[in-house]
């Protein structure tokens, strides 16, 4: 039987939404107050959903210790209390919107997923809350 388990993590970080490919005026129009040159921050929440069968002995579908370690190493440590634009390589050029952040979390997890969980489960969904009202969801795809 396949169950879907979701685990939620939090980190706080600052960012500024500003595209190098847009003029100052266009940036202000597109991003509004998120374009403030001094930046601002959020309490982000990340929800990882994994799917697979339940182990008949342990009653677990995923080793939560490993899942927590992966989240800590791949997401929380690199992002927690950071200025995303300055301190996370990809956001030196990409704009750290919730969409791009979800894409980056997905990319980081997929890069190491099979190594950590060679026999499953699969990473089914990543959801990121920037605020309670601004949520982005991505369904990882595997080649």
């Amino acid at each position: 039987m396949t169950v879907h388990l979701s685990r939620r993590y939090g980190f706080s970080a600052s960012h500024r939404l500003h595209s190098q490919k847009l003029s100052e005026e266009q940036n202000r129009l597109v991003y509004g107050k998120c374009n403030n040159p001094n930046g601002h921050g959020h309490n982000y929440e990340v929800e990882l959903t994994v799917a697979g069968p339940v182990d008949p002995i342990t009653g677990r579908m995923v080793d939560l210790v490993s899942l927590d370690r992966v989240a800590e190493e791949q997401i929380l440590q690199p992002f927690r209390f950071r200025n995303l634009n300055e301190e996370v390589e990809v956001f030196r050029t990409a704009v750290p919107t919730t969409e791009n952040l979800a894409g980056e979390v997905d990319r980081r997890l997929r890069a190491i997923w099979r190594e950590v969980f060679p026999e499953g489960p699969v990473l089914e969904k990543v959801r990121i809350w920037e605020t309670e009202r601004n949520i982005c969801e991505i369904h990882p795809t595997y080649e």
Binding site: M1, T2, V3, H4, L5, S6, R7, R8, Y9, P53, V54, I57, T58, G59, R60, M61, D63, L64, V65
Partner: protein, 142 residues
Amino acid sequence: MIISKKVEFSASHICRSERLSDAENQRVYGAASNPLGHGHNYIVEVAIEGQPDPVTGMILDLKDLKEILEARVLSVYDHRLLNREVEPFSRSGGLVPTVENIAVDIWNRLVGVIDPTGRASLFSVRVHETAELFVEYRGEGA
């Protein structure tokens, strides 16, 4: 169309498998393997799929659903030690009451009794063990 109802129960459990050593239990379940047990306020979200009745505008009568959840889930699970008082966790060599197994067990208790008329059917059972952890089961591979 899917309609969801949320109910809560509080229960204690011990996440330990008789088939694992003490060290393995500690590694797999961490603090949850404490043999004296611990508890949670569980939240159960039950999603029902169906089409609204053209007369009542309802997929199913939520009063009936409330009674079913009370009789089949809450009266069984609320304020119990799951390892000792709730099947399939209480029998010797029974399942470990992880949130995965709880979600599957609640599905098994509800599927088939949601709506005898067949208009509505159980779509998913979601069990939140904490604000950071929940499991959803949709009967896949049942």
